[in-house]
């Protein structure tokens, strides 16, 4: 048998794990055509790859593990929580140096100063921001988003109003359910982590669950349709009151939070959609031929221009900009 070299092994590994680019797939195809032994070699490696599948389902008991860690660290829920004082001299100086629109700054400080305005409002404009709510839940607000707390937050319940997108890590409190009120929907949890999207110009609100259980319903005058969502589930609530459930298999769900976009042999229409969600700018494909293009690649903290350049090199597409929106055109790819 011909001595196959490292380069071929790497190429085949990329193919099997889904990491190969369109160009690399092409090179593999051409290599296969060279000799019949090549196809046999590929089949052997494919068999090795397939055999290595693990049938081990490992679902560790997270609650039990948490109990152990609590013991190890001496943490109990009653233990005093370490608080880093906000109003220290150092932090005050930092505030003075910050280049944030004055209005937002006044708003934010006003809402946290004890004894002043009762209504708390959290907002993010140019960048995403993290906040700790009065009940110790942690939220990450995507840019251009505002979260308002109900006046009686943390009394009978914990109600908030969301305009935009936020990822919630809700502290468990069985007595006071956490309620996220969106434009078209209402999400209720006891303690869990999930992402909600609710923008007035969109026709539907969207929620995706990471941990815990979430009850999700549409805003409706009659009995609203309600669903219970588990980790990995995703649901939409439409303006007309219907609720649709789906499973999240989108690797770029919450890409905005991780600041990373991952594509593995992803069809171009999905790539465009992920970019649209990430940058919040309209990105459309103008030619149907582009639909059969696929793309593999990972971007960390990318600039949109940079991503488009790479896509252009990989799929031969061109792009035009019209104010905020991008239009992608091209001859497409061989399916």
């Amino acid at each position: 048998m011909e001595a196959f070299n490292q380069e071929q092994d790497e190429l085949i590994a990329k193919h099997l794990s889904g990491e190969s680019t369109a160009e690399e797939e092409q090179r593999l195809r051409e290599w296969l055509k060279e000799k019949p032994e090549h196809a046999e070699y590929l089949q052997q490696l494919t068999t090795v790859w397939n055999s290595a599948a693990s049938s081990d389902q490992f679902q560790p008991n997270v609650e039990a593990a948490w109990e152990k860690v609590k013991q190890k660290t001496g943490l109990t829920t009653d233990a005093p929580v370490k608080v880093i004082p906000f109003l220290s001299a150092r932090n005050l100086l930092r505030i003075a140096a910050v280049l944030v629109p004055l209005l937002i700054l006044t708003f934010a400080i006003k809402s946290l100063w004890p004894g002043e305005s009762k209504r708390k409002v959290y907002s993010a404009t140019l960048h995403k921001r993290e906040f700790l709510l009065p009940d110790s839940s942690l939220i990450t607000l995507n840019k251009n988003s505002i979260l308002t707390l109900a006046d009686d937050f943390n009394e009978d319940n914990r109600e908030v109003f969301l305009n935009g997108e936020a990822f919630f890590e809700v502290r468990k409190d069985k007595i006071r359910p956490f309620l996220v009120q969106g434009h078209h929907s209402r999400t209720q949890v006891l303690g869990t982590s999930f992402n909600v999207k609710s923008r007035p110009q969109k026709m539907a609100d969207e929620v995706e669950v990471v941990t815990g259980r979430v009850s999700f319903a549409a805003n409706s005058d009659d009995t609203p349709e309600k669903v219970v969502l588990l980790p990995g589930d995703k649901a939409n609530a439409l303006k007309n009151g219907t609720v649709r459930k789906a499973k999240t298999i989108d690797p770029n769900f919450m890409a905005w939070r991780r600041e990373q976009l991952v594509f593995k042999n992803t069809p171009l229409p999905e790539v465009a959609q992920a970019l649209e969600n990430y940058y919040q700018q309209p990105i459309t494909l103008s030619t149907a031929a582009l639909q059969n293009c696929r793309f593999t690649g990972t971007f960390t903290k990318p600039e949109l221009k940079e991503v488009l350049k790479v896509l252009s090199a990989a799929t031969g597409l061109t792009y035009q900009r019209n104010k905020n929106a991008y239009l992608l055109s091209g001859k497409g790819c061989t399916p």
């Binding site: 790497e10 794990s17 990491e19 790859w49 397939n50 055999s51 081990d56 700790l132 939070r257």
Partner: protein, 200 residues
């Protein structure tokens, strides 16, 4: 605590801000990190111990723990390091003979399919054990945890090029080890495993 986004603020955020956020982070990532550790050390209990130990240590040094990468990336990286360390310790104290499965332990009451499955798994495990430590870690993280090359590179603090290299090497060595059984494996896969990969 209000974190104000500042253009002049240095990179780096506290990983752990308080007890309840620590709990949230733990619960959000524990399962996945345990799986990553498990792929490397092959022992579920040990894997969980490693991750619990890691979190306990992080809590202890929480006041000085600033990170400039997303929490998940930091935690993945720490977990992979801890798992590889544990594996090294394990290798030094346990001889390889003990770690290999012996076929004579198979019970007589198993069906032919179950026997075939166990044999396949055993052969694969043996082949995987022949890989150098880091090489095996890269391979199992890709194959069984479905991490991307970039994620593996970040978690193991190596370059993507090195990951590509290690993957090629892993396939090559495993093919050599499994060559005598390939015919049998192909037949077994065809009948007993769902074929999720497309050949061509």
């Amino acid at each position: 605590m209000l974190s104000i986004a500042s253009e002049t603020e240095p990179a780096g955020q506290l990983l752990i801000k308080d007890a309840s956020q620590f709990e949230s982070i733990f619960k959000a990532h524990y399962a996945q990190l345990s799986r990553v550790a498990f792929r490397i050390v092959k022992d579920k209990e040990l894997a969980e111990d490693i991750v619990q130990e890691l979190f306990a240590r992080l809590w202890e040094k929480r006041e000085s723990l600033f990170i400039s990468v997303p929490p998940k990336a930091y935690l993945s990286r720490s977990t992979v390091n801890a798992a590889l360390d544990a594996l090294e310790k394990q290798k030094r104290s346990v001889s390889l003979e003990e770690a290999q499965p012996s076929f004579s332990q198979l019970s007589v009451n198993q069906t032919e399919e179950q026997l075939a499955l166990r044999e396949t798994t055993a052969r694969i495990d043996q082949a995987l054990d022949k890989l150098p430590t880091a090489c095996r870690a890269v391979f199992v993280l890709s194959r069984n945890e479905e991490m991307s090359y970039q994620q593996i590179a970040d978690a193991m603090e190596i370059s993507v090029k090195t990951v590509e290299n290690q993957m090629g090497k892993a396939l090559k060595i495993m093919r050599q080890e499994l060559l005598p059984y390939l015919g049998k494996l192909i037949k077994l896969l065809f009948f007993y495993f769902p074929f999720s990969e497309i050949f061509f």
